[in-house]
Symmetry: C2
Subunit: 83 residues, 2 copies
């Protein structure tokens, strides 16, 4: 079973990497860009075939390793399935 985990900074947490990208885009003439925040995405293949079990396992994985829940939020999606 294929899942996608997105890890993004919580609102209010400073994102110097996003700011740097924003500055670079403005310098390149992309003035239409107002702001950029960067996060991480993980495409995870799981042995589980049951969606609920897969989601529960992914939550444990996110809490243990993929996300720093002090400053980051995570979202779990199953592509090819209605959200």
């Amino acid at each position: 079973m294929q899942a996608r985990v997105s890890v993004t900074l919580k609102p209010g947490v400073l994102d110097p990497q996003g700011k740097a990208i924003e500055g670079a885009l403005h310098a390149l003439g992309h003035g239409a860009v107002e702001s950029v925040r960067q996060g991480k995405v993980f495409d995870v293949a799981l042995k589980a075939t049951d969606r609920a079990a897969a989601e529960a396992e992914l939550r444990r994985v996110c809490e243990a390793l993929l996300a720093n829940t002090v400053i980051e939020d995570y979202a779990i999606a199953f592509p090819g399935e209605p959200a």
Copy 2:
């Protein structure tokens, strides 16, 4: 207008970072995880209000800076709108 750009490695491109995460998860007892591939996500706020114009601008931004199209694919999504 808010958009989300996901940048992922093309299939076949080696992903040592994903492999390291996979190994760490196995070591932590998460054997249900078969494989992990890591990518980047950018939450971009744009001045454009027209979806087609925003998407065209984001394509230019991806080609110019956000993605290395030799080894990476990008996908543009507008959250809050049907895909």
